[in-house]
């Protein structure tokens, strides 16, 4: 199924935005306004909810006219595009979003046609699936690692580089002891938060410079 590549799911959703001449500002502008100040780092709804590697939200105003001799045509609705690259099965992922950040979902999608709210999880999932497009071709550079596995690996990589640099030329017995301590500490360290710029040095790597 082209929506999946390995264990990664490529979710593409186009939600029609409510076209209401009475609304000021219009619903698409209200979505844009909300998204403009929505946190993108550790406080992002996608960081607070589980399973998102990368995601974007885009108001698609219209199709684009490429010039003569192509025909000019326009959409009747504007659409909110939700493109997500996430872990696992779609229902679980959507349920996780609905459970973790319902207020953000409602603030964004309440401007879309037929949105039932995130409180009713099944209705939310059904709605999202009704707006879903089948991906024709999906590429993932890494397709077999979850978000927490990746965050941990990044932490490990950083700590390992420091450990190696700090233990060059150390005699074997001491190196082995230091290594055991390093691994234990790394294992017990909390997984870094998604959406952050990486951990401040919390793992002590020991060695001659510390």
């Amino acid at each position: 199924m082209p929506n999946k590549n390995g264990t990664v799911y490529g979710l593409t959703i186009l939600s029609p935005i409510i076209d209401d001449e009475q609304a000021t500002p219009s619903h698409d502008l209200q979505i844009r306004k909300y998204l403009a100040t929505l946190p993108t780092g550790e406080q992002s709804p996608f960081a607070l909810a589980p399973g998102t590697h990368l995601a974007r939200l885009v108001v698609m105003d219209d199709v684009i006219y490429v010039g003569m001799p192509a025909c000019e045509e326009h959409l009747k609705s504007k659409y909110l595009v939700f493109e997500s690259n996430c872990d696992g099965e779609l229902d679980n992922y959507l349920a996780g979003l609905a459970a973790s950040v319902p207020e953000h979902l409602d603030a964004i999608w309440s401007h879309c046609v037929g949105y039932p709210g995130a409180a009713n999880q099944q209705a939310f999932i059904d709605y999202m699936k009704a707006c879903q497009l089948e991906t024709t071709f999906y590429f993932a550079a890494v397709n077999d690692k979850s978000v927490p596995e990746t965050l941990r690996a990044l932490q490990t990589q950083h700590a390992v580089a420091d450990f190696i640099a700090d233990h060059q030329g150390m005699e074997p017995a001491r190196l082995q002891t230091e290594f055991a301590r390093f691994v234990a500490e790394l294992k017990s360290a909390p997984v870094p938060r998604p959406g952050s710029m990486g951990q401040p040095r919390s793992i002590k790597t020991g060695g001659r410079n510390e």
Partner: protein, 198 residues
């Protein structure tokens, strides 16, 4: 609004296609999905984290009733979403330089596509059909696709050494540790801020 978050750029593009051409394009994507060497170029380019093409036939835009007006379109549309590292220019330069044949096969069915070479008309076309991202999230703003791959290599290597380490004599450990360093030595790049986009 920004297409950029840390080391990642979000590109959205939409191009019109005459409906009969959609079938040909689907055939090409079917092949691309089933012939591994074709995908290898994308992997080797190494600065794309995720990318997708979505063929959107003119009568299959999501329709939910509730007062929504049905679309009446002559063209099918090809949507392209890419998550890449580096600058817009760098990305399109590289695409044009090494993937022009593949790109032509994907987009030649779109109206007015000028071809991926030479690069300036290609860039003008992409700029024209690109629409901007309102909100962009990444769990790893400080890491590029290469950094992610390197990190997983280091993690696997470390896990394997730490499983063996306890049972080793110090001399055996020193030897295993050297092997470990050799395994990870090309994968220790620092993560952090991206350069300024220009």
């Amino acid at each position: 609004m920004s297409n950029i978050n840390g080391k990642i750029y979000a590109l959205n593009a939409i191009t019109p296609m005459k409906p009969w051409k959609t079938l040909v394009l689907r055939g090409f994507f079917f092949l691309l999905g089933h012939i591994k060497p074709l995908q290898q170029d994308l992997i080797n380019l190494s600065f794309i984290e995720f990318a997708r093409w979505v063929v959107l036939p003119r009568r299959q835009f999501p329709f939910l009733g509730n007062g929504q007006v049905k679309e009446e379109l002559q063209y099918d549309y090809l949507l392209f979403f890419s998550n890449f590292n580096g600058t817009w220019n760098q990305y399109i330069d590289a695409f044009s330089a090494v993937l022009s044949k593949g790109l032509n096969l994907v987009w030649r069915w779109s109206e007015k596509f000028p071809g991926a070479v030479p690069v300036t008309p290609f860039k003008e076309y992409i700029a024209r059909v690109q629409f901007d991202t309102d909100y962009y999230y990444t769990a790893y703003p400080h890491a590029a696709a290469n950094d992610l791959k390197s990190a997983h290599i280091v993690q696997a290597s470390l896990d394997s050494l730490s499983q063996r380490a306890q049972a080793c004599t110090p001399e055996q450990f020193a030897d295993a540790y050297l092997r470990f360093v050799l395994e990870v030595q090309a994968h220790l790049g620092e993560t952090g801020e991206a350069p300024i986009v220009f």
